[in-house]
């Protein structure tokens, strides 16, 4: 078994998660025996009906939650908590409001004791990557939503994670900004070669980004279907192939949501 996993970036084995509601004491089954293999350098999208447990799945990979059963193997090693090798980008940006743009990006470098000058240079480099050169000394409140998310991505990239876990990072942006950020993400992914797992509820976004698109069932989430998207980047949203795959996924989603 161990031999088989060495090539994988990420393996999810029989992953289940049950929450216990604090008030009522009722059990809430969120994930049900998820099995998944993710290749290094891939860009995988997780889609599913809203509230199905996509975010929980991502948090388990990130080590922010522990599974009730099964395990998460990252590069063959079981995940026991969060770590800088697995970067997380949150929907809520989660920028430190008291740190400037530059200081947010260098956070992960500062805390491991990297000398100030070096951390600064490195952070400036990542700010350039996300196109925010010249905004170093602004505070988060002075930024638009799209800029905040770029800072958050730069902050995560700065610690050089080997996998990037993104939880609906563009969900609260307006449509135009969102499209721009999607193109930007593809660019960064291609340039850095980092493995990306991207959670979204937008089929359009999944088809635009994903090499593999994993379809989850409604809660408790199971893997229902895997769609492979072999379209070349950058993808045109009006191409027949795009529209066809989009229709296919939407069909599964509709089925999933009407199913009782």
């Amino acid at each position: 078994m161990a031999m088989k996993t060495t090539g994988r970036a990420l393996s999810l084995r029989g992953l289940s998660k049950t929450f216990i509601e604090k008030k009522t004491g009722r059990e809430l089954e969120v994930l049900d025996s998820i099995n998944l293999e993710i290749e290094p350098g891939s860009l995988t999208c997780l889609v599913g009906p809203s509230g199905c447990g996509k975010t929980t799945l991502l948090r388990l990979i990130g080590g922010l939650e522990m599974p009730t059963a099964g395990e998460v193997l990252f590069e063959g090693v079981p995940v026991t908590g969060p770590g800088p090798e697995r970067g997380v980008v949150f929907q809520e940006y989660a920028l430190f409001p008291w740190r400037t743009v530059l200081k947010n990006v260098s956070f992960g470098l500062d805390i491991v004791g990297m000398p100030g000058g070096e951390a600064r240079r490195k952070a400036e480099g990542y700010l350039q990557t996300v196109g925010l050169t010249g905004h170093e000394d602004l505070y988060p409140r002075e930024l638009s939503g799209g800029m905040k998310q770029r800072v958050a991505i730069a902050r995560t990239l700065a610690v050089e994670p080997r996998i990037l876990l993104m939880d609906e990072p563009f969900a609260s942006l307006d449509a135009q900004t969102r499209n721009g950020m999607q193109e930007f993400l593809v660019e960064v992914w291609q340039r850095t070669g980092t493995t990306v797992v991207f959670v979204t509820h937008s089929v359009d976004e999944a088809v635009f980004l994903g090499g593999d698109i994993i379809g989850l069932s409604k809660r408790p989430a199971r893997v229902v279907d895997t769609f492979t998207n072999s379209m070349k980047y950058p993808r045109g949203r009006t191409e027949p192939e795009f529209i066809a795959l989009r229709a296919l996924i939407l069909e599964y989603l509709t089925r999933e949501m009407s199913d009782t």
Partner: protein, 250 residues
Amino acid sequence: MSRWWKIVPPLVALALWELLAGLGWLGKTPTPVQAVRGIYELIATGLPPGYHLQGHLLASLARVFTGFAVAFVIAVPLGIAMGAWPLASVIVDPLVEAIRPIPPLAWAPLALIWFGLGLASSAFIVFLGAFFPILLNTVSGVKSVDPHLVEAARTLGARKRTILARVLVPGSMPSIITGMRIGMGIAWMTLIAAELIGVKNGYGLGYMIMTARDLARYDLLVAGMVVIGVVGFLIDWLIRLGEKRLLRWR
């Protein structure tokens, strides 16, 4: 609307006070003019004579800052611990809730036994006044830090101590400063009352107005009240200035 409008209501209040007191409608209340003359007398002659306003002010400031500093140094770390670790909260909470409702001044006789008449005694009472607002605001500040920020820090490789120092402390800073402002206000009020018991060196603003009362010098009494009010306002203004500097990110 420019800012000078802000000084109109106080001016109207002063004029009304001058008028009503001048007409004798407020009993033996001194007028603002008499109060201002009283301030001059407090500076020039002193009350009791020889004990000048400057000395009273310095003595009170020394007491209030000593008590406040001790409260700050204990309340902030304790509040952060209570906010960050539920266990600390469980242990300390009942004690805090039991002591908090007791007015600081009620401790005065005990403070006298424990610390005597000097600086320590009034500083202790000031400490009690300032401690709880700082503590409770620190606790709520830590608890109100966005959990996503803690998670973000963890995924960036931060351990517990780093999270405490780099996330929870800066995140609760606005709340801590609010606690400082409230705490300082209460400390100042408490001090004046604490000095009414008596002071060892013969100096203190509260002691000064008590003397004015004993000597039926209500002009000096009101003058002392004005000084106390102005100093309290200035201290708060300084804290707010520091807050603006420190919390530019807000």
